[in-house]
């Protein structure tokens, strides 16, 4: 680990920012003591199984539930027609579209929910689900956006009145005219067309719910796998028409989310409706196939990018045209204003005056959901495109890809930097990060080795990605989901003995919030992190917030934690003045205590102040020691980094192996370096998975290929490369502790680095693109189709 030293301000006992504190949640996780949704059993609880469509596109002629209903132990069989009586057959999506809860008119993707069986036992529910007979009239399926845009394409969304095409949205960003002008004066234009395939966040714990609606009090307690419990409570109030004070969402321990647990799924709504009608708790635990084939997928972007270059290799402008495959319902989880998420961060780490992005979303007969799989609203796709494009541009003009980046980087003195699509980058030092990565990998030696290898007929490649992310949504001016502004919150209460509880509106799914957020309190108040309990995931007992995704918890809730701690520190100052019989202005703060300036022996600890807040507070002051902060971030944060991958490639088989993987990350100030490194390792692994093996595809009939872990691959420790991490620290100037968020950096940045490495190994043959995943057969086909070609780069 290469690191710029940043000594923590607090002692290991206090364990504030900068300490690699061990994760407190791991005690229960590694001993099997976690409390996940399926661990929860309620008295009288019923079980639900969902009947799914085997066809991608078909009219529903009839549904016969009689045999299923006759099975001993079956309580009810729910269909869309039944839900329609309660006005629940359709629900809103997070992008303002509608989605069928249970299909009534027709099915629009394989795996769509058609009926649900409620039974006393989960085995009975599944047995009976096989006895629900649905008569389908098949319709021609649309399995890609090109088909969907064809003039004679069947209309998928016949439920939308007057809909005459399959377009889900159109959107643009940047300045079209300025961009045209840039291209008009370009000495050279470099083009890349590539597909970012459909992947899936595939958390190890699938989605699930236990809906418990009390028939007497109408209190609905809904245990669910939710990354955003408060937002979900409001959605439930809007969808089900339940009074919001009667809804309590409890999100227990979550076994991974990665964006998959942001949307509201039909299963949640059906179980809640069933509990409401039956008056008993109803549990639904999704199957693996259900999860992979019906819940929020990610990517499926068909992208065309063009870079305009001047004669010296400087970028003049970027033009991107992108078509996204939305599936049957436009259900992206993203801020309202941005129809393709934050894809317009596609201008990347480079300085040029003009860019234009146009995007079209297309309905297809595939699963809906377009969530951001660990990527802050489509930033992964954007970062991938620009990093592939600049690498190709370097080949076309015969410049080293690292040198090309250095030439075009935004310089440190240009921050805050306004990008041509309207972002204001808070801080950055891209050249330093890339130089560090190059030093760590021994870049010059590798380039020399590559030349030699090519002479000997061996193939090796070096791939770079110098990404910039945009995370921490977001400022209320621009960022909301369904109208809910994307602030977040922290409520801090310190008890008389100096130990306290921190309640947050976000929800950890493995990120380690229970550990890190206590460290922020420790940093600000000097109270040991071990004395602070962190509570999340219960809407009755935490302040409102929009949840955890998009690397937003540290930029928003982390900032709120810092601010609320500072508010309480000011209260403590008043109490300290009272206790020390000094004036507030004469008090100095150092970690954990106030002392009178000039006489350090005259001091009180923060714990003394807290105790006094309950036992001996000054006249006119409110008792107690608690406060809340709703933090509206002034800007997004912009983490960045440079990754370098070295691969060796077997030309006979197309098999490539990662020899080295260097990742230099700059996420601003690191609260818990160990957890940051863990996040980076996870993201680098996911990036490797997507670039090498992972995809969900569909055959021409719309059958989902990739609906189990035999087809949809999760890499193991065996094939995952060894990672070498480096670090630079460029604090965010607007975040209270200078942190930027890191949950997604490595997923965003690494795919381009892996792919660029493979392309680099073949660049001398004229190869400029292979679509992900870079399976050996695709690589082999590419070598074959380029063999004999003259080198171009």
């Amino acid at each position: 680990m290469t690191t710029t030293e940043h000594a923590p301000k607090t002692s290991p006992e206090v364990c504030g920012v900068g300490h690699s504190r061990r994760r407190v949640e791991d005690d229960r996780f590694i001993q099997g003591g976690g409390n996940y949704l399926d661990d929860i059993e309620l008295s009288g609880m019923l079980h639900m199984a969902i009947v799914r469509s085997p066809l991608a596109h078909a009219e529903i002629l009839s549904i016969d539930t009689s045999q299923a209903e006759a099975v001993d132990g079956v309580v009810a069989v729910v269909t869309g027609d039944l839900l329609a009586q309660y006005d629940l057959a359709w629900m809103p999506t997070l992008s303002g579209d509608t989605q069928a809860v249970l299909a009534t008119d027709k099915v629009r993707f394989q795996g769509q929910e058609v009926a649900a069986v409620i039974a006393t036992d989960p085995y009975v529910a599944r047995d009976a689900a096989e006895l629900v007979f649905v008569d389908y009239e098949p319709l021609p399926p649309i399995v890609n956006p090109q088909q969907g845009l064809a003039p004679d394409a069947p209309i998928i969304r016949t439920d939308k009145e007057g809909k005459t095409d399959n377009i889900a949205y159109t959107w643009e960003s940047g300045d079209a005219q300025a961009t045209e002008a840039a291209f008009a004066r370009a000495a050279r234009v470099v083009t890349l067309e590539t597909h970012y395939p459909r992947s899936h966040p595939s958390p190890l714990e699938t989605c699930g719910v236990i809906a418990d609606v009390d028939p007497i009090t109408s209190q609905a307690t809904i245990y669910m796998t939710s990354q955003a419990p408060h937002a979900h409570r409001t959605v439930f109030a809007l969808v089900a028409g339940l009074p919001e004070q009667n809804i309590r969402i409890i999100s227990p321990d979550i076994g991974g989310g990665f964006g998959n647990k942001v949307p509201v799924y039909p299963g949640y709504v059906i179980a809640t409706a069933a509990s409401l009608v039956i008056g008993k708790p109803v549990k639904w635990i999704e199957t693996r196939t259900g999860n992979l084939s019906s819940t929020g997928f990610a990517r499926d972007y068909h992208m065309k990018g063009e870079l305009a270059l001047d004669a010296d290799g400087r970028i003049l402008g970027l033009r991107v045209d992108m078509t996204s495959d939305q599936g049957a319902f436009y259900a992206d989880a993203q801020p309202t204003k941005f129809r393709a998420g934050l894809f317009h961060i596609v201008t990347g780490s480079y300085d040029y005056p003009a860019a234009h992005v146009s995007a079209t979303g297309v309905y297809t007969n595939k699963a809906p959901g377009g969530v951001s799989y660990r990527c802050s609203f489509r930033v992964t796709e954007a970062s991938y495109l620009i990093e592939r494009l600049v690498q190709n541009a370097a080949y076309e003009i015969g410049m080293d890809p690292a040198e090309f980046r250095m030439l075009n980087f935004i310089r440190p003195d240009q921050f805050p930097y306004r990008s041509p699509t309207g972002f204001v980058y808070d801080s950055g030092d891209y050249e330093t990060a890339l130089r560090l990565a190059m030093d760590m990998v021994g870049y010059e030696d590798l380039r020399r080795e590559q030349e030699e290898a090519r002479r000997e007929g061996r193939l090796m490649g070096i791939g770079i990605a110098s990404f910039t992310e945009v995370v921490g949504a977001g400022p209320s001016k621009d960022y909301d989901i369904l109208g809910l502004k994307m602030f977040d919150s922290a409520e801090l209460r310190i008890h008389p003995t100096g130990k306290g509880i921190l309640k947050l509106g976000v929800k950890t799914q493995g990120q380690g919030h229970e550990t890190t957020f206590a460290q922020i309190v420790a940093e600000e108040l000097g109270i040991p992190a071990a004395d602070i309990k962190v509570v999340e995931g219960d809407t009755d007992n935490t302040p409102y917030g929009l949840g955890t995704y998009g690397s937003r918890s540290t930029p928003t809730a982390g900032a709120a934690t810092s601010v609320v701690s500072r508010k309480l520190r000011e209260k403590a100052r008043k109490i300290a003045a009272h206790l020390l019989e000094a004036s507030e202005e004469d008090l100095e703060w150092e970690v954990g205590k106030f002392f009178v300036r000039g006489s350090p022996e005259s001091s009180v600890t923060i714990q003394d102040c807290v105790f006094a807040a309950y036992t001996n507070f000054p006249e006119g002051m409110e008792g107690g020691f608690e406060d809340v902060d709703y933090y509206d971030p002034p800007n997004m944060t912009f983490p960045f980094g440079s990754y370098i991958v070295v691969v060796d490639l077997d030309p006979d088989t197309g098999v490539w192996k990662v020899r080295r993987m260097i990742a230099v990350d700059d996420c601003g100030v690191r609260i818990n370096p160990m957890i940051v490194e863990g996040q980076i390792h996870g993201g680098l692994t996911e990036g490797f998975a997507m670039s090498s093996m992972q995809w969900i595809t569909y055959d021409e009939d719309g059958n989902c290929i990739g609906s189990n872990f035999m087809d949809y691959l999760i890499p193991t420790a065996w094939e995952t490369p060894r990672f070498e991490l480096g670090e630079t620290v460029t604090p965010s100037p607007h975040h209270p502790i200078g942190a930027k968020g890191v949950g997604e950096s490595a997923t965003v940045g690494s795919p381009a680095a892996y792919v660029n490495a493979v392309i680099d190994a073949l660049a001398h043959l004229g190869v400029r693109n292979i679509d992900m995943p870079l399976l050996p057969d695709r690589v082999w086909e590419t070598i074959r189709s380029h063999s004999g070609a003259e080198g171009e780069g």
Partner: protein, 290 residues
């Protein structure tokens, strides 16, 4: 896991197990390692009404060298092969194959005999047994003991010569003096089935001439494919790069892979050629050094 309902029987003696098979026959599935059967039951692709769990039967877990062959009994796990001194001393191809089977979790439970009895053409062991010319031993209450050559045993995809009333009790692999073998496998990740697998085994005489050759392919045909024409080409000849290239070309022509998410048919055929050539060279080198 939510399979359909089934009876679960745990016999304590071989006689008891054979009795159940004789009585219930085709509705029964034998459970050894369960690494293919249980996932199929989970997905409800297979729904046997009776499971006979043979894991508690005594005297079914031996790996030993007796009567000119190495004996692998029904409860020998893939990891037992990796740990076995007998296999390491006696058989290069099996030693080379075992670490390629599935992943460590599957190898802890799954059995060699179960894999062969299941006869998924994507399974590794059936190719190994074809290359080695193994024999399968089956027992039943009424039919006694049958010894079946592996080529006759493997009938078609998921179909073998085993009768519903029979229990596969052991596989016998011929011993050899001067030989070598190895398995080459292309997989997308650990635990994946083979995109292509190639098993080769060569035996040499004192003069270094090939006296016995085995070549079998995984995942590129409706069953595990023994490439007899290429084997015949090798016997009586001295190992050479040209010879192995010729044999590899025969293997590539003999297979009939399908295009799927693991790769195009053309790609797989290429891998068969590349791996057969590499595998034969490696086997010859081992044999020459033994």
């Amino acid at each position: 896991m939510y399979p359909r309902a089934f009876d679960y029987l745990v016999p304590r003696t071989r006689e008891e197990a054979l009795e159940v098979l004789a009585e219930r026959g085709s509705e029964v599935k034998v459970l050894a390692g369960g690494q293919s059967l249980i996932p199929m039951m989970k997905l409800r692709f297979a729904s046997p009404t009776t499971l006979v769990d043979i894991n508690r039967l005594p005297g079914l877990d031996a790996i030993d060298a007796v009567n000119g062959h190495v004996r692998i009994q029904a409860l020998v796990r893939h990891n037992d092969i990796i740990r076995s001194d007998v296999v390491r001393a006696e058989n290069h191809l099996m030693t080379s194959t075992a670490p390629w089977v599935a992943d460590p979790l599957v190898r802890n439970r799954g059995t060699v005999c179960g894999s062969v009895a299941h006869h998924d053409p994507e399974g590794d062991w059936a190719s190994v047994m074809l290359a080695l010319g193994a024999e399968v031993v089956a027992e039943s209450r009424d039919g006694g003991t049958r010894v079946i050559p592996i080529e006759d045993f493997l009938v078609d995809m998921f179909t073998t010569a085993l009768e519903p009333t029979e229990l596969l009790t052991e596989i016998r692999v011929p011993r050899y003096e001067r030989g070598g073998g190895n398995y080459q496998k292309l997989e997308r990740k650990v635990g994946d089935y083979a995109t292509v697998g190639v098993a080769t085994h060569l035996e040499l005489d004192e003069a270094g001439v090939i006296t016995k050759a085995g070549i079998a392919l995984t995942s590129v045909y409706v069953r595990n494919l023994k490439v007899t024409e290429a084997e015949a080409l090798l016997v009586g000849r001295a190992p050479s790069a040209e010879l192995f290239g010729e044999a590899a070309a025969i293997a590539a022509a003999a297979c009939d892979p399908t295009s799927d998410i693991r790769g195009s048919a053309e790609y797989k055929r290429n891998i068969v050629r590349v791996f057969t050539e590499r595998s034969l060279a490696e086997s010859a080198s081992i044999a020459q050094g033994s």
